[in-house]
């Protein structure tokens, strides 16, 4: 007969306030093979762990049940504790009597006490039949894939590369920079955004440890933490990168012009063009949707004028296979689609633009060369209205969350506007002002005082065009009056939404997204940069809206977490995986089909199915589907499960 130990935690009053822990300990102590049963106020504390260690040593226990919180909190703590006494860690199990008992039954104390007993008894059943297992060591690939070449991806890549790890940086657009390349100046210091970014992008381009793939997307990913296999699709740019010197003659000569998305619809670009001037890499790309050569074959201008003969119309998409150990998802954001913002006249009235369009207007290399001119007639707007929280914080119709950057960038916009047009009047409609980071509140107050910005606390109901001006109907809730402003131009601080295509990418990576499409972290406070899938890490606005400084901090945090992961060449994995009884398996192959991790394979020599221990995640899908009951999960065998069920029914 085994000698088992049961340790019941009070968790302060979290458990003991509802469950009568003393009586449970006493009752459990009477079970035949329970050699030791006790309770303590905080079992996870050092003295608490000492109780466990001493009991193992003094009582010679060969199985431990700790009744406390969820195993995702402290299973590891107690397994380490028992291991220090020479016990196999897989003989220690957690009975969750907090989340699944005391917290949910706070008003039914007696019932909760009875349920806690049953949960402990069930866990005892499991421990009685647990095997001694050893962790599986898996070789690890010490390279990293970073998806997204905005400031988050750039920062993470540079940090990792500086740490000595090889990085593959993937960017969907033709050049690095993301949305930061579109910005004019950044708050709160009013630094030119582009200069800061340029030094970083150049560093990435020249870094020997960073392999940069622009105009590329992740097509396929297989494998697991430490061993991801990638298929990258490098889209044809029709320009031979090694020959092109970036002289720009092709761009000057291209006859096709169309509205540039980078300029938010306010500027034009050519069919062969850079994403933006002095982009990194500084090599143009042919957009095949607009290039006349690809539409009807009538134009070869760029090919003719290129002094280096670098135009290769016949270039095809390239599929690149590679392997990495960890992946950073830094996919960034889009602004809320304008088609769905009817009441603001957005998309219909030319003088209603969004924050990014205004950034382009303020940029020295933008469509107006940094001058504030309204799009309809290129006049200097004398009255400007800024509307905050457009589609943010509106759970009924739009997004319930706060987009976090709008309060500050609107103040910055109004300040720059006032500097450029001193006799102009900016009006800002706001709900609350959120300026909670270092120097933000000071920046804001100073701006309001110095520049005489008119902040109106209230929402806008309609924006429409009348008499050549843009009329804004709103309310000022501080005076309780309706406000009507006839403005020359309106800037909407539209909500941040996840970048398009993130859901597909997340599905490929088996990472989860929340209902708005933001990637979910493993734990909002304790594991904020890890996704719930091991080996997938998050940085930047793909996880939640954030400003540049927060994005850079998070990207560095992500990089350091990955450096810790890759600091060893072997990764220890839980051995709680599937195994096959070779005598029973008939080789039907149903499990091979059903396995989501490609961990099951047919062994053609023996005609049975085998388990790749490094790939198996222990999900149990194959076990449920096996018609012969030939597979089992280690330490969750059918026998154990049935006995656990017996305890409850």
């Amino acid at each position: 007969m085994k000698r088992l130990g049961v340790f019941i935690c009070h968790c302060g009053v979290n458990i003991a306030g509802t469950v009568d822990v003393k009586s449970v300990a006493e009752k459990i102590g009477k079970i035949e093979d329970v050699a030791h049963s006790t309770d303590y106020i905080y079992m996870c504390s050092e003295p608490g762990q000492q109780i466990v260690r001493e009991a193992i040593r003094d009582q010679g226990l060969d199985g431990v049940v700790v009744a406390c919180c969820s195993p995702s909190m402290h299973e590891n703590t107690f397994r380490k504790a028992v291991k220090s006494q020479g016990m196999n860690p897989y003989l220690c199990e957690i009975a969750n009597i907090r989340e699944q008992c005391s917290w949910v039954h706070q008003k039914e104390k007696e019932e909760a006490t009875r349920k806690a007993e049953e949960i402990i008894q069930a866990t005892l059943e499991k421990v009685r039949r647990n095997e001694q297992l050893e962790a599986i060591a898996v070789a690890i690939n010490r390279r990293v894939l970073v998806i997204g070449g905005g400031i988050a991806g750039i920062t993470a890549s540079l940090d990792l590369a500086e740490g000595g790890y090889e990085v593959i940086l993937l960017e969907r657009e033709a050049a690095l920079g993301g949305h930061m390349a579109q910005l004019s100046r950044t708050f709160p210091d009013l630094d030119p955004a582009f200069n800061g970014l340029l030094s970083k992008t150049l560093e990435v381009e020249g870094h020997p440890k960073i392999q940069l793939y622009c105009y590329s997307e992740l097509e396929e990913v297989k494998g697991y933490v430490g061993n991801f296999e990638l298929v990258i699709r490098k889209k044809a740019t029709s320009v031979a990168g090694e020959k092109c010197t970036g002289c720009g003659v092709c761009i000057e000569n291209c006859p096709v012009e169309y509205v540039s998305e980078f300029e938010r619809g306010m500027g034009m670009r050519k069919a062969i063009d850079l994403l933006y001037p002095s982009s990194v890499p500084n090599k143009p790309v042919i957009d095949r949707e607009h290039c006349r050569h690809f539409i009807d074959g009538t134009c070869h201008r760029c090919e003719e004028v290129c002094p280096e003969k670098a135009i290769h119309f016949e270039q095809e998409d390239e599929r690149i296979l590679d392997k990495v150990g960890a992946i950073v998802v830094a996919t960034g954001y889009d602004l809320y689609p304008k088609e769905q913002l009817g009441e603001y006249g957005y998309g219909e009235i030319p003088d209603v633009i969004d924050g990014l369009a205004f950034e382009r207007m303020l940029s020295p290399d933008g469509p107006t060369k940094g001058k504030i001119l309204r799009p309809s007639d290129r006049k200097v707007p004398k009255e400007m209205v800024f509307i905050q929280c457009v589609a943010s914080r509106d759970p009924d119709r739009y997004m319930p969350y706060c987009s976090r950057i709008c309060c500050m960038y609107t103040a910055k916009h109004a300040k720059i506007y006032k500097e450029q047009v001193p006799d102009g009047q900016p009006y800002i409609f706001y709900m609350d002002i959120r300026s909670d980071c270092k120097g933000y509140e000071e920046f804001l107050q100073k701006t309001i005082e110095e520049k005489g910005l008119l902040y109106l606390r209230g929402r806008v109901s309609r924006v429409f065009q009348d008499d050549g001006r843009v009329r804004i109907l709103g309310v000022d809730t501080l005076t309780g009056k309706m406000v009507e402003v006839a403005a020359d131009m309106v800037v909407l601080a539209t909500a941040i939404v996840p970048s398009h295509g993130v859901k597909d990418l997340a599905a490929k990576l088996r990472a989860t997204v929340d209902r708005h499409g933001f990637l979910t972290e493993a734990h909002i406070k304790l594991y904020p940069v890890e996704s719930s899938t091991k080996g997938i890490y998050l940085a930047g606005c793909g996880q939640s809206p954030k400003d540049i400084s927060d994005t850079v901090s998070q990207a560095s945090a992500t990089a350091s977490k990955i450096q810790a992961l890759l600091s060893t060449d072997k990764l220890l994995q839980d051995p709680l995986i599937a195994f096959v009884d070779e005598g029973i398996c008939s080789g039907c192959g149903i499990c091979v089909e059903i396995c989501p991790y490609e961990a099951r394979e047919m062994d053609p020599r023996h005609g049975i199915s085998i388990v790749h221990s490094a790939l198996c995640q222990g999900c149990g899908a194959c076990i449920a589907s096996c018609p012969n009951n030939a597979c089992e999960l280690r330490n969750t065998s059918a026998n154990q499960v049935f006995r656990i069920l017996d305890t409850f029914v």
Binding site: G342, E343, R462, F464, Q465, D466, D467, R471, L473
Partner: protein
Amino acid sequence: MRYACLRVGRRYAFLELVMDYLYFPGCTLYTKAKNFDQTARNCSLLLGFELKELKNWTCCGATFPLATDNIMALLPPSRILATAREEGTVLTTLCAVCFNVIKRTNRLIQGDGEKRDKINNFIEKNYQGDLQILHYLEILKQDIGFPQLREKVKKPLEGLLAAPYYGCMLLRPFKEMGFDDKEKPTLFEEFLEALGAKAIEFPYKIECCGSFQSVGSPDVATECAYKILGSAIQNGAEAMVSTCPMCTFNIDHKQSDIKQKHLDFKPIPVFYFTQLLGIAMGLDYRTLGFEQNAVDPLPLLSEKGFL
């Protein structure tokens, strides 16, 4: 086969009736807006259907209670709905306020089981919210069809620049009313185009007319009306078209007040949409109740050659 007899132009016509619609007129249509009611009834005969007046109808309550615990104010519309359900499955109205109150009450009874039971206990009926509530314009669009309407028009209103004024009651709250697009409704414009008139686009077409403010703070309502009318006139309107007796009171009857305050204001006639429909269908203008319109539309109509 049923027929109706109606004077069209100089002759009496026998009109074949294909169907009936259960019709809730509402109080205003029996008093201040008789012209709205009468023209609608006559036009429907010309279009082949009859408005069958609901028996024993009462006032709709005139406002939908915004307080969630106010059951009392829901009782009159609920009683109307329950009686209507005993007679048919579709109920139609003309007045935008009645339409709003009745449609929203119906929706509430449909979706909220607890309130449904309470209301049914009060009015001693068992109404489940399964009536379809249609505005007269919706019937014209869905059941008659605007292309078909265009064919039936005898006197196209060519050259008339009319501003369709929706007001708020037809459209808001958007989710509950579901009448048309919330920011850019077009149903009214389509109707006017079918009659041959030119619909004027103006930004205040879905703004509030001031509603009952005309009782307590008449200045507020006058200002609202001035903004609406001014914007329509500036965009080229010669006439306004309304779906609501309340709106009509504010934008038609208040024009004399506006004139006193804004000396440069030039009054323009305000029609009920059914009055324009009547002209286009060839009804005698003397049967269209223009004597009830505050700003006399006859000079404009004769100038345009519609009389």
